[in-house]
Each structure stands twice: as C-alpha cells, then as structure tokens.
Amino acid sequence: MFKDLKLYCKYIKMHILSGLEYKGWWMMCIQTIFIVITDPIAAVLMFSRFGGVGVWTMERILLIYSLAVTSFGLAESFCRGFDYFPWKMIQSGDFDRLLLRPRSLFIQVAGSYFHIHRLPRVLTGICVIIWAVYRLHIPFSILNLTILLLALIGGFLTYTGVFVMTSGIAFFTVKGLDWIYIFTNASYNVTRCPIDYLPKILWGVFTFFMPMFVISYYPAAAICGWGEPLITGFLALPAGIAFLGFSLIIWRIGVRHYKSTGS
C-alpha cells in the first residue's frame, strides 16, 4: 500500500518536472483561473441584480459552491488520469502496458496524468471558502474546520469516484460518454440554485446517488447553523468512501471486460 503511494508520488514528481519544462505552463494556470472566474460569473451577476433569494445571499451560495468546486479541483488535480483515461489510454492501447506491470492499476492510472495548472482551481476555491465563512461571520473553530476538512476529503473521494466510474464505463463505450459531464463540471453548478427551491428530484440525485450536496451543502449548513441536523455535516467522508467504493466496482467490471475482449 505504501509502496504504491510512493510510486504515485514519483509519478507526480515526474509529471510536474516535465510539465514545468513546457514553456506555456504559466499560461495554462492563467487559463484555469480564467475558467474558475467565468464559471460562477452568471451567479455573481444574478445576485448583484436581484440582491438575493429569501435568506440566500451570495455569500451562502458561494460557500456551498466553492466547497463543491474545491473538492472537484482536488480530484481533478490528483486523479485526473482517470478522466483522461478513456481518450488517452484505451484508444492508444496503452492500457495493455499497465496490465503488464506488477502494480495496482488504480495507482498507475491515477498517476498517469498530473499538471500543475489544475491547482489554481483548488487554491482559488479555498480562498473563496475562507472569504465566505468570514463574511457570514462564522468562527473558525476546531469543530468547523474539522467539518470543512472532512467535507473536502469526502468531496475529493466523491469526485475521484466520478472519474473512476467514467473510466470503468469507458471500457464499454467511449463515444457515448459525454453524459458523465453532468456529474463533473455540471454538478457543482447545481449548487448555484438555492436548495430550498431546487426540484426534489435533483436534490435526490445529488444527495443519494452522487453525494454532491452531502459534501457541500450539508457541511456548510452544519457550520453556519441553517437548520439541518448537525450529524449531516459529518456525512461527507463516509459518503465519499461509499461512492468511491461503488465506482471501483464498476471499474473492476470494466477491467474484466477489457481483458476478455482485448483492444
């Protein structure tokens, strides 16, 4: 287990070094920051025009939103290998090479891609979280920080799960995979809608299937006291583990299918 992590770190180091050699890396960071800003721009402009929706101020929504985005950014940074997997590895046949190495496939795929320009999203996300908590006059107590940390870890596991699931399904079909976008980039946009007004079905999908709200809204509610039971704020980590576990099953099924049909 530790040997695998050591290997993963080596992969990351290698990618960082070769990534920095590429002259445009700072440009790519700027590009990421640009995206990070334009994503919620619609929400920000809406709030500036309409003021707010009931008790839902911009700070509240941004807190929930940035928790989701930061988790997504973390998964994107450290496990994006899975997201690129279908298009890079399966189509080029490089997955065979991974099967020929006496190492966990998961670590190999997770470590297959890393680029430093994904990190600005995480950093900006954390900044916005801190800003929103401050603006909402919530103290940075040990309890609150723990909840936030658990939320981010759980979120990281959840979004990693989405990427893993994408790869698992990619073994069966690559072309018809776009809908997974709903659970990646589109998912954190759902937080822009004040949860009280959200159609129940969306709330259900993003709480019980892909626990996006469990890792963003409920922890935020717990530290801000928005009327949800305190325990729900701690569910982020278990939800993340559960979802990742489920995704790994799909991944394994995919690998088995690949091994019986070849490339």
Binding site: Y22, K23, G24, M27, M28, I30, Q31, F34, I35, T38, I41, A42, A43, L45, M46, S48, R49, F50, G51, G52, V53, G54, T173, K175, G176, L177, D178, W179, Y181, I182, A186, N189, V190, R192, C193, P194, Y197, L198, P199, L202
Partner: protein
Amino acid sequence: MRRTLKAGLSLFRIRAIEGLQYRLAALSGATVSTFWALIEAVILVVFFKYGNNTAGSINGLNLSQGVSYIWLGELMVMLQIPGIDGDLMVKITSGDIGIELCRPLDLYWHWFSRSAAGKVNAFIIRGGMVIACGSALTLFGADHIGFGLPHSPVNFGLFLISVFSAFLFSTAYSMFVTAIRVGVAWGDGPMYLITVAGTVLSGGYLPLQLWPDSMQTFLRIQPFASYLDTPARLYIGSVTLKNGLLMLLLQVAWIAAFVFFGRMIMKHKLKAVVVQGG
C-alpha cells in the same frame, strides 16, 4: 473558385454523413445540454420569482423569454465548439500544412467549408435534440421551464436568417482563430480562453440583458452577440423589428470583418510557412 466550391460541398457532404454515425455521442451530448438548460432555467425562475429585487422585465427580458433564451443558448453553443476544427488542429501542430498547399484549392475557403461541415452535425443533431426536449417540456405542461414558441412568424423568419448568419459568423471566427494559430508554437491555451470568452459574451452563461445595465451598450455591439444574443432576441421578440434588422446587419458586418482579417492573416502566415519550409 468554382472548383473550390464544388470540393467544399462534397467535403461538407462526406463529413455530414460521418457525423450520422456517432449517434450515441450525440444522444449523450444532448443529455448534457438538456441538463444544463434545465438547471439554468430553474435558477432563472427561482431568481425571477423569489428574488429580493424582483422585476417583471429586465432590459426587455421577462421570465418566459429568458427561459427560451437559455434553451436557444444550448442550441447555438453547438456552433461555438470546437474553436478550431479538430482535423485542422492536427494539421497545424504536425506541420502538415505544406500538404494542404499542394491542392489546387483556395486554402481559406477549403478550410472554411471543412470547419462549417464540422459544426453542422453537432448543431443539427445534438442541438435539434435539445430543442426537442425543451419543446417536449412545454408541450407536456412544464412550460415555465420549457422552450417557448417564437414571438411571431416574422420574428421566426428573421430568427432563421440570423441563425444562418450566426453559423457563418462562427465559421468565420473559427477561421480567424485558426489563422492566428498557424505557426504559433506556444500551445492552445490562448485559443481556449478566447473560446470561453466568446461564449460568455454571447450570452451563453447568462442572457445579456441580465448583465449590469452599464454594460448593455457594449454587449450589444461586440461581435460575440452574433453567436447567440442576436438570433435569440429575434426569436423571443424582445427587440423592435427595426432594431432587429439593425442587429442582423451588424451580424453580417462582423462576418465580413472576420473573413477579411482571417484571410489577410492567413495569407501572411502562409507566406512565412512557405519561406521556412513548413
């Protein structure tokens, strides 16, 4: 010129047929677009109805118009991607442009028709599916978040003309970006930024009328309004006919501008390519 036209049309046809085969991809893509439209529509409804500073109509846009605008956004965004046609990208990065120059066709129009063909498929198939879903929602009673009818037959006619213009504009703009990209070594970053900026300014993230009032004039004359805002406003009828016609003219003007500059840049770049050996 005639040869180029003919070649362009048959290229168009071949790519269009190719596109038919990716039915799964289209369906899957359409699902995503529908989802986006629904989310945006729900958010718009929530803000309009329950917002603290709510208003019936903002800069000429009321709620039901806004919702239709959003659905149209998902349709028109199909024209905006890819910024540069994938095949052409490969040719540029691998330096195969020399081969292209060997063909007895005007390179600009040749690539133009290629790009155009590339966009048509996604537009018709995936875009069509999204509009169908939106319309289905309206038909089956969820009309507060569904795609509405055009404001009037005249508006619809103008809308269609504007869509065709938008199609030409997006191709001209892609060609412009492609021309800049030729011979540039530092990667695709800036291109992607420009594409996103274009989408934002076209109203794809938020209907332009909802942007701050101070920006309204700027937003109406900038080129990217041609992508979505102009056809959308014609469809939903939030402009007077006179203003609508002016907007159409503006669209055409931008098309001409980008074609002109695109050709100029391309000529310049290709000369350099030939000199350096490609």
